[in-house]
Symmetry: C2
Subunit: 282 residues, 2 copies
């Protein structure tokens, strides 16, 4: 059991064809990465962090000189069996949705934290793993595999634009644009800008935008405190002037964003598990 085992599972996932993102083999490889990560996280030293996020408490794990990102203590499931059962089971009730959010959070944060304490300054591997995890869940939810580029037509040339996940349910059905980020911060404007391009290419309302994100926490190293970095006013401005995102699904939902569903311009921000219950076609 070592960090190399996680990397091995990660490489298998990364090398998988988009069309197989919903397969049992893909899911089983995600769980393999998770199990190794959970063991590494369990062996590391836990450090409680001072939380400045109302109602949430966080810890980090530490190994040698490296400290992991913040882990939400209330969302983190200690039992591997519970995580696997919730992740693989059906999601048809509110309780099952809640358990799925918890399981997906624990899988994502365990793998990210294991990478944090084994490799310095690696943002890319955690980000890509999270994308693969969300790719799997969305494929299960929508019963169709994602694509990651679209065709752009104009009079003189024909181009292909690389995109975040697009799920195309076929003729007469909606398409979905699913950008995936471990955290958004000031880069979030890209999400609305890509939605605007898709609106231009396919027509407004044809492709529904749904952001999926892990968390917005940041550990301030000097003080060891956890804050959530949220820019709700900027989200509102982008929603008014760039394009309209239908929803954002988080694993660790920031309260300031959850409130964006209450006032106009409305953006529904919810736990990721809810995506299995929500009527996405509305």
């Amino acid at each position: 059991m070592s960090y190399k085992d996680i990397v091995k599972a990660y490489e298998v996932l990364k090398g998988t064809d988009l069309k197989d993102y919903g397969s049992d083999a893909f899911r089983s490889e995600i769980l393999t990465a998770y199990r190794f990560a959970a063991d590494l996280v369990n062996r590391a030293k836990r450090v409680n962090l001072t939380s400045q996020v109302p109602g949430k408490s966080y810890f980090s794990v530490r190994q040698g000189k490296r400290t992991s990102r913040a882990i939400n203590a209330g969302l983190f499931e200690e039992s591997k069996t519970t995580v696997e059962r919730s992740f693989c089971g059906p999601v048809k009730t509110k309780d099952q949705a809640k358990a799925m959010t918890r399981a997906a959070y624990t899988i994502a944060i365990s793998v990210c934290a294991a990478i944090d304490i084994n490799k310095s300054n690696d943002q890319k591997t955690p980000g890509t793993f999270f994308e693969l995890l969300v790719g799997h869940l969305m494929t299960r939810r929508l019963n169709v595999s994602p694509q990651t580029e679209i065709q752009i037509l104009n009079l003189e040339s024909e181009k292909r634009l690389p995109t975040d996940f697009i799920f195309d349910l076929g003729k007469g059905h909606r398409k979905y644009h699913v950008p995936v980020k471990t955290s958004t911060r000031e880069r979030v404007i890209q999400v609305w800008a890509h939605q605007r391009v898709l609106d231009g290419v396919y027509g407004v309302g044809q492709i529904q935008g749904m952001l999926v994100a892990l968390a917005e926490t940041k550990v301030e190293k000097k003080s060891g405190t956890v804050v959530e970095i949220c820019l709700p006013d900027q989200w509102r401005i982008y929603q008014m002037f760039i394009a309209q995102m239908k929803a954002a699904y988080y694993l660790d939902v920031p309260d300031k964003y959850a409130k964006l569903g209450e006032t106009r311009p409305k953006i529904e921000v919810k736990p990721l598990g809810d995506i299995f219950l929500d009527d996405l076609d509305s």
Copy 2:
């Protein structure tokens, strides 16, 4: 003469009010930072780089373990006197515009390179210095000081949005949106997205967008080669579907972007010195 002298000049510039960006004192502080930087760069070891950019040759400077970004040998002016004369003089002819591009390039790249070889992984200081330099030049060009936030109106609230430089020439005149980046890469979509927000708030065509950038070079460390990272097809797509930027001004103009002025959708990409000759109101 040491790195601290550059930091001192930088702090003075950074602490200056936006309304004083066009002042002689501000300009003189830019030149102070440049003179110290030029001395540090001159004392460092020069290393020729293998250029994969057609028609351009580059070198780096090295001090201890730190190596600077790539410096365009053909644009870099060795004579401090020439740099200062070109930077302070009038820009009314093509030759003067060319000399201004050369002077501004030498100032910017000297300060950036001096920071590179004195501080590890500092991207923020070079970026902010470049912003201050461009802020000064644009204030001189447009005879008005920049602002860095705008008001957003909607029915329920009144918000202020932080922006890149906005130059407002007053009632009946055009406004200018001037995002400033040392390099753009994949983050460039932000430029078009901000333009879209401004179009929505003020009306399309009311605020003209002009990107100002230093260069698009990247040194591949292992091989010691210099490449230019350009995404002209993506610029075209953003120009068609997000908003319309009027022009981009570079100090070290990438050839692939210069060609964007030749085909529709048109984006004029030119050397920064030309901004003093161009009719910006057209």
